[in-house]
Symmetry: C2
Subunit: 384 residues, 2 copies
């Protein structure tokens, strides 16, 4: 088996395209040079288009959680009231971060597999008009559910609260329109649909957010957004940026522009639809319902006919395809297929074929090819 | 001119060896796999040897400043008293970080170009026995000065205070013996003598430090050391690690082991001695005196016969050699030649030849070759 040909169908790291891998091996340059500044400014402009904003976008040398910490540390002071939508592990991460910074957290707990009802946010905000910020996860990776950021933004934008969105596993795959929707802060990471290795975090910051950031009393230094702004005015960064990652970002953002954002979004939606059709035709149960199903990751329930952890192991060791398991209380209950970033519709066919064969290997009675056929039927109707 | 052949003689990013550049372009793997764990554990063991410790070593996806923030955020609570040795920009960074976290900072200000007198630390500690920690910079990159960490450690180790060392521009080039000397926390970065791109930070943590960390009340999440410890017990990291950087770290730490730490240290010392001899023979003034001169970066004063910023520009554009300027009040006063990481003694000859030729181009009267000869004479006596 070709070890390096492993197909990553996990929610990050995702496959990095060859031109980006090659870019990573380019010799280093000084980061306080005109040449680096021009890469920084060019990639930042492209990130703005992906975030749907004309406001400010910065990066950190960190994983996506670093951008999430920046969002909290720059807006939430001790004792501030915040509302957090919690529908899984990454919603919980917002709560943990806000609590680490001393916030009083009101959680809107959503059943795993469901999306938040925007009316619940409206109600919570009415009950606590002093709320500093509402935190939400655009794509809850742990359950394969999308929360409707646009609808929630429509509610939050008319209040004093900020709307802060974790788009780590959605940016570059699922539409984000910061300015049009009225989103104040978006945090994202490199190793998902941006098609890079882990190690670069992205944050978008609205005008409304700055008024809060300037008054925020929480300690921060490495993730200080005011330092980012000051340095970006001079086309540089406060601390040494991850130079090699920018070489690769230059490649992947150009690829996204060439494909066109609308096409990128449609490709992810189609991959989702193919996997869901295939799972159903194989007689497996989808964890999230159609209306809220993630376009970047599909969670599928195990059942009494097979063991999800054994399935994952067989997929990895025999078919060279890595899929994710469930986290925390969902461990052993679900497995998750990532379909984000550098992959195409046709790859879903081979991915599902491997799932079918592995299930067959494990002795589960299945009709070989039924899921693959369903995926192909969906694909036959895709426009691309 | 070959643009990619630029020789980085700045204090980071430094040249990355070809085998590490190649490693960066290796396809990604999942980070929750046995294969990644084995890279993580192997490189961590090697980093422990470089840090001179059997205690705990962790990494962050961040630049070196991230490890510095981790050192502060995990040990310093609001209103804690700390002592900071400030002999330049990176000493100031410790002060800024400690103040950001609400500490009461007592600075021991050292004249730029001089090293701290350990007796001053002893006195300050006696005057304030409640001091939580002493912060020092092993190698002050902004002035090209080494502070004597071993001597300071001898004083601090017998008190309740922690000794916290910025070794960003020294680790892997200048000796560090955490356990033998009694250093509690060491913060370092990847893009200096560890021969990697920016984006990976390293932190070493002593037993004594843990007792403070466990009681520390400062908010932290991404840089939380307790989360690092919990996850390292399971051979993993709290957040997605910079997988590609570990591929490269695996290469560069193996290179350091192959050369042998003592040889690595001697190589850096020899490169320093060659540059200093060359500068003197060219009639230039060294910013730091011999006893405290950095083994990774040499600061050289400009004078009335040439403009340092014009010299830097000429070196970069004509000779393809990047050197650093002075920072803040030293801008225009000094230029700095980095000699750290993936470079050898013989490279100092060409580096200095370029300096001589550029000075000559700028109309400064010099005897061409005098500095190069002096460097070669030093090299002729080096053992390697």
């Amino acid at each position: 088996m070709f070890r390096e040909k492993r197909e990553l169908r996990i929610p990050g790291p995702t496959p990095v395209p060859p031109q980006a891998l090659r870019a990573l091996s380019r010799p280093l340059m000084g980061h306080r040079t005109e040449e680096f500044s021009s890469i920084l400014m060019r990639t930042t402009e492209r990130l703005k288009r992906i975030l749907g904003t004309k406001a400010d976008v910065y990066t950190f040398a960190s994983s996506g959680t670093g951008a999430m910490e920046a969002a909290v540390a720059n807006t939430v002071s001790a004792s501030d009231k915040v509302i957090v939508v919690v529908g899984g592990k990454f919603g919980e991460r917002w709560s943990e971060l806000c609590r680490a910074f001393g916030a009083e957290v009101e959680e809107i707990v959503v059943e795993p597999g469901k999306a938040v009802d925007p009316a619940a946010v409206e109600q919570a905000l009415k009950a606590a008009p002093e709320t500093r910020a509402v935190f939400i996860t655009q794509n809850e990776t742990s359950t394969g559910v999308e929360h409707d950021v646009e609808s929630v933004a429509r509610i939050v934008r008319d209040t004093d609260a900020l709307l802060i969105v974790d788009a780590v596993s959605s940016l570059g795959a699922i539409e984000m329109r910061m300015d049009d929707w009225g989103v104040d802060i978006v945090a994202a990471g490199s190793q998902k649909a941006l098609m890079l290795p882990p190690g670069l975090a992205v944050i978008g910051v609205s005008e409304k957010a700055w008024s809060v950031i300037e008054k925020c009393r929480s300690p921060r230094y490495y993730f200080d957004l005011i330092a980012c702004r000051k340095n970006m005015d001079k086309e540089t960064t406060p601390f040494t940026p991850a130079v090699s990652m920018f070489y690769a970002l230059d490649q992947t953002t150009a690829m996204i522009e060439e494909e066109g954002l609308e096409n990128v979004y449609r490709r992810h939606q189609d991959m989702r639809d193919m996997i869901r059709a295939a799972a159903r035709a194989t007689g497996l149960e989808l964890f999230a319902s159609d209306e809220v199903a993630s376009r970047t990751i599909t969670a599928i329930r195990g059942d009494s006919t097979f063991d999800v952890e054994k399935l994952r192991k067989r997929l990895a060791t025999v078919y060279n395809i890595e899929v994710a398991g469930g986290q925390s209380e969902l461990k052993g209950v679900i497995f998750r297929i990532g379909h984000m970033g550098y992959m195409d519709r046709i790859d879903m066919v081979s991915t599902w074929a491997a799932v079918e064969l592995a299930l067959n290997d494990l002795g589960r009675p299945i009709e070989i090819g039924a899921g693959v056929k369903a995926a192909m039927e969906v694909m036959s109707k895709c426009e691309f």
